[in-house]
Symmetry: C2
Subunit: 763 residues, 2 copies
């Protein structure tokens, strides 16, 4: 179908604002006499706080408040940014206090100072005297799972947050029938989001006695609820405002700062208090990606049909639950739409340790599981000597597939075409041949990896989204959503959807980027790649409601029935011919000022989306491994995506660039390191933490296979997280092809590669 | 009917914010690197600007822009805060440019400077060289109407802005039938609003290229349109934000600053520019009340039945039209609901002069006409020797009266009861007797005056109002209106209406006080005493929509039909018994989180109110006149109002206190003075302009006659302007009773009183 605005590479609505520095982030706002806060952090990974002496700190001139465990509500709350669940059994684990009386990782917050400026706050921290009683630090899942290990949370036996998996089909029978059994162990690393804008919030009590929190978050409406819960106050007494946000990637899908910021303003009589994390704090005390250890066992026929897979997973969630059990669960659910496997068993254990808290991060468990699964598929292909693309093709699911556990049906699926396209782009066969017999210090190889994902969280999570559209007198509209622009471009894409429905150029859709829980429609926020698909549905619904009202109004003005009318190019037109009936602006003016019939047109809609579309994709990588240095160079890399209709190709390409780059860092260099004895972070800064720079990033090839998803707005599916899922296994598979060495542990940095190649006898 | 929240003297929702200084007014916001603006004003009342040399001013370091007539769009626009009219014939006169090439009063803006700070801006003003060509200054309507007088606006012959009146019945026949003819001339003075917060605006271009104006205004949505018109840009590209406002009284029902502020930010590339008027500027170049000269002629039967009245009025609108012709028109329409007069002729002329611009001010023409009419009624009573209360009673209209010209019907009328109540309060008969034969230097007298008014502007103006209500998870609601809180208490009253419908305590209605045209429902704003009546209707409609949705949702939850349910005390109850079905908060939580039926509840409504209720009232005053000094002391004063149901008695009383106090100033001391030759303002400051202080203000008695207006929310009619209508004539009539001298010219300050008494031979 030909669209006017959808499918166009329209310039971001915030492009100029962002490149000129006009866009306002949380730190760009200020209140009169804003106080600043600093946090006192535990130097121990596991210790009781036996006593805190704050007398001297409080006496320091300029200090307005010092808070400890004794000064905050003793209400345990969950920080994960999920919709509230009416069923207490399905809520996230409430294991957090605003300030703790037991340190559970190095950096855990035991006290907070509110002062006139940062220097005073910093000095006050040094005047607080804390008496700790050290406990054994459990720094690995193994240590935490050890019989007799101390409990990190008293109410959590064996330090296991959750072990809920699933079984489907008869796995033992499948393994019994199998011609071939393949087993493997795969391990991912701890990485951090490294969004450009650190975590920052400020809060004050407003003129009506409500707490207002301005914060860099992906989930303003959820933050409102969590702050209400943490403080034990009615949620309506909290107001959250989200300005522009400089990235989140999941680390801001969590209430990291807001409950404390709110508690601090209450401690100083409602005066404004700002909490602005340093990069070091961000990398220690917000969230990180879960490291997983997987053990996979597959049974298949000799011609490569998968009969059954068992996946055992241990997920290290760190000191507090956050999204822990949910991520292990999500990892187990999203790959099921890729291969048609009669028997599946997923057996995860999410384990508390005395390390920083793991939480949501782009892909939400899938980058880990897709890494394991797609390495494993390569291993299988090698074992049965089948081309890895052919192995995959043999097992791919087909349109119409219904997932047994979720009852969700695949209505669009372009993975076959993605594989074809990627194969052609990288010239798979030609290069396979060329790389057959390599000698010398530099070896080249090709790798592939696929994925399936989801668009939102249905049926596990609630998918409420809202949009409000107001028709202005000049025929332009204001668009308000509850969806959160966090840098990904959702304001632009959602505006394109509205513009398409209303026959407007994009410039006539004035998007309100800020979400304010007082005025923004309710929407759970930016996560799970849900906004284009889920929030887009709400925007389309609102735009269609506005359109219907406009056509109905014009019916009244002209006596031409609404069903004979349409909106195109800012005109109300005859639907059959496109001929102009009257300019939209004229109709709009009448909706405001007709003395009898005036009724300004707005639509304020909410949508409960009980559908979930499955996006697909694949990465193709060509690498060159320098055997002497262990350095892996990516010569070519292509991500080919089926995300349904692409609403904005240029923005979509940007998403893929970012996701692949994140995948490359995940594959080759990134890893949070901790002292093995004390649990002290070793590289929580952007110098020592090896995020890829532009020099480490190859040209990233992007291609799309545009299927038409029936449930998506104009056929769209999700694209936010998918690009980051398959690069790491594709690179690993290419390195295996190049060197014969299977890297089953991330990251594949030069030191590890060198050691592994040596150990494997390649060098 | 017994209400829970309506009728209660609830504390203002902004009370604490305002007394603690937390409430933010326009000047409390700031943008990074805000520039400031100053205006160069004409020293001549009437002069062509022949040349402006801005070279030196522009060269001054820190000056960012100097604007003159040549730098602004040459689009004439109207500043009056009225809804746009689709019919060009019914629009306000567009006679204004952002900066003028012809000065039409002393203070007219001929250039503006934008600079880094105020001192630089001030200095730059002194560096601008203007060459004027002086014209004859027309400083009175007489001068302006003189044959051959220069035209103030080239396209306006005879300097008459408008002379549209009306005739009803056969006046000549009425005068012919009359037993008695009474004639009189009455003259009111120029006064100024003297709101606490001066006019202030700032503007910048936002991240999407739209102009944002933060301004102290009564009419945010109208300002958006006027700025669009003045700059010749689509109205959707303008966004207006109204924070708390420190009073307006009509002076902010006009686009005084905003078009220039917007033009200035465009001149400096969208950087923020603030224009903050001094008190002196406010009193010279915003708006003032029209001074009127009336000539009344009445014919009546010997027993006091009015047969016909002719009213000739000359209204001095100053240099630009603003609300001019509309105020003369309104003055002619609102008193028609008071006395049943078979023949009426209203013959106004609104005349341009070279004085500051007259515009809307509390009462909008009625304080002038009610003064004339109610002085005239006293004069009639004296002529036919009838008690003035009896004269009025004989002629009052009755419920069911239909106004011939507007077709509007009186559905509630408590004026008779108001007269009874006021008479009793002041002990009319007892004092009349006591005052019969006075001697000595101090003489006492009683006076009375009545009025009828309107609630909004229907059918002359469009009465669109909007409200949006969001139900929170805790059962509280957010209320957004387009109505403007400007100090009068509308946020509180509108919240009470919502609370009453929804069975909530007032504290559970979180009012958003700020109006932002991007998110606030469309409403034309705070004027014409319309908000409780007109905007209240929209709030009630929204609350009822929310209530219906809640009850419907609970029907789904409980299988109890919605019609059997009601909301009371934060509970969903059985309507027949009041027994709780479930807490509202539980239902609310389900509207957000029921996995299948969740649909957060909001209502976003607009209402086109094509009704108009007539409020009534009377002032009773007892004065003591010191014959030796000419000083008038008000010993007792009572305003008795029929404003239908009183939603909040304490706030209503506050409105009456303010209005009566304004009426007292109008009667006794206030007057803008100008040099008779040059038109230069002589007392445009709060030292020389004699606003009554607390020492000049007597205890003000307030009483209400609560009729139930069928069209009002919970029976309410308007109260904003009415209190200021009748004090001045009541005081004048009391002075006449005390001294025998008829003061037909305002103000009755000691100098005038002394002179008049001398001239009348009293002293």
């Amino acid at each position: 179908m030909a669209y006017s605005v959808v499918g166009q590479s329209a310039q971001r609505v915030d492009a100029v604002a962002k490149v000129t520095g006009k866009a306002k982030y949380t730190d760009d706002f200020f209140e009169r006499d804003m106080l600043v806060a600093k946090i006192l952090r535990s130097p121990y990974a596991h210790a009781w706080v036996r006593q805190i002496d704050t007398v001297q700190a409080k006496a320091l001139p300029g200090v307005e408040a010092v808070l400890t465990y004794h000064d905050v509500p003793h209400i345990k709350f969950a920080t994960a940014g999920h919709p509230f669940n009416l069923d207490p059994k399905h809520r996230d684990r409430a294991d957090r206090l605003i300030l703790t009386d037991k340190a559970r990782f190095v950096g855990d917050a035991v006290a907070a100072v509110v002062a006139a400026d940062e220097l005073i706050a910093q000095e006050a921290l040094s005047l607080i005297k804390v008496e700790y009683e050290e406990l054994e630090a459990l720094l690995t899942p193994d240590a935490a799972l050890r019989e007799g290990a101390p409990l990190i949370h008293a109410d959590c036996p064996h330090n296991i947050l959750s072990d809920q998996g699933f079984h489907q089909g008869d796995l033992e029978q499948a393994f019994g029938r199998a011609d071939v059994i393949v087993e493997g162990e795969y391990q991912t690393s701890m990485v951090q989001h490294c969004h450009l804008e650190n975590h920052i919030s400020y809060a004050y009590v407003d003129t009506q006695g409500r707490i207002v929190i301005v914060t860099s978050t992906q989930i303003p409406h959820i933050i409102r609820r969590i702050v209400g819960e943490a403080l034990g106050i009615p949620w309506g007494r909290v107001r959250v405002i989200k300005p522009y946000v400089g990235g989140g990637f999941g680390a801001k899908q969590d209430a990291c700062l807001e409950p404390l910021t709110a508690a601090m303003t209450l401690a100083v009589g409602g005066r404004p208090v700002k909490l602005n994390f340093t990069r070091e704090e961000c990398m220690m005390d917000t969230r990180r990606r879960h490291d997983f250890t997987f053990r996979l066992k597959s049974g298949l026929t000799k011609d490569g049909r998968l009969l059954g897979i068992r996946i055992e997973a241990i997920s290290n969630t760190g000191a507090y639950a956050s999204h822990g059990h949910s991520i292990a669960g999500a990892a187990g659910s999203k790959y099921r739409y890729l291969y048609d496997v009669p028997a599946l068993s997923y057996e995860p254990r999410t384990v508390y340790t005395n390390l920083p808290v793991a939480g949501a991060m782009r892909g939400y468990g899938s980058p880990q599981l897709v890494y394991a699964l797609e390495c494993h598929m390569e291993d299988i292909a090698r074992k049965i000597q089948l081309d890895p693309i052919d192995l995959r093709r043999k097992n791919l699911i087909k349109i119409g597939h219904i997932d047994e556990l979720s009852d969700n049906k695949v209505l669009s699926c372009g993975i076959r075409e993605c594989l074809e396209k990627g194969k052609a782009l990288i010239r798979w066969e030609e290069k396979q041949k060329a790389f057959e017999r390599q000698t010398g210090d530099k070896r080249r190889g090709l790798g592939v990896a696929c994925f399936s994902y989801a668009s939102g969280t249905h049926p596990v999570g609630l998918e409420i989204a809202g949009a409000r559209i107001v028709l202005n007198q000049d025929g332009s509209v204001q668009l308000q959503t509850g969806a959160a622009e966090i840098g990904q471009g959702s304001d632009t894409v959602l505006a394109q959807i509205a513009a398409e429905v209303l026959g407007l150029p994009l410039g006539k859709v004035h998007v309100r980027s800020e979400q304010d829980t007082d005025t923004a429609p309710f929407d759970t926020g930016a996560y799970a790649s849900r906004q284009t698909y889920i929030s887009g549905m709400a925007v389309k619904k609102a735009a269609e409601a506005v359109k219907a009202k406009i056509l109905d109004f014009v019916w009244g003005m002209t006596d031409i029935p609404a069903h004979a009318l349409d909106l195109k190019n800012e005109q109300v037109v005859y639907k059959h011919s496109g001929e102009t009936v009257l300019p939209l602006a004229e109709a709009a003016l009448n909706t405001y000022y007709d003395t009898v019939f005036a009724q300004p047109i707005t639509a304020d809609v909410s949508n409960n989306a009980r559908v979930n579309a499955v996006p697909y994709g694949a990465t193709f990588a060509e690498v060159e491994v320098d055997l002497k240095t262990g350095k892996i160079e990516i010569l070519e890399i292509y991500n080919v995506h089926d995300s349904g209709t692409i609403i904005n190709p240029r923005l979509a390409e940007g998403q893929v660039h970012g996701g692949v780059s994140m995948g490359i860092g995940y594959a080759l260099s990134e890893q949070l390191l901790f002292d093995e004895k004390t649990g002290r972070p070793l590289n929580n800064n952007l110098l020592d933490y090896k995020l890829p720079t532009i020099m480490d990033t190859p040209d990233i090839g992007v291609a799309f296979v545009e299927t038409a998803e029936p449930t998506g707005s104009f056929g769209a599916k999700s694209l936010g997280e998918p690009p980051t899922l398959s690069p790491a296994p594709a690179i690993r598979n290419a390195v295996l092809a190049a060197t014969g060495a299977a890297f089953n542990r991330l990251p594949m940095n030069p030191q590890r590669v060198f050691e592994k190649l040596k150990q494997a006898g390649v060098i």
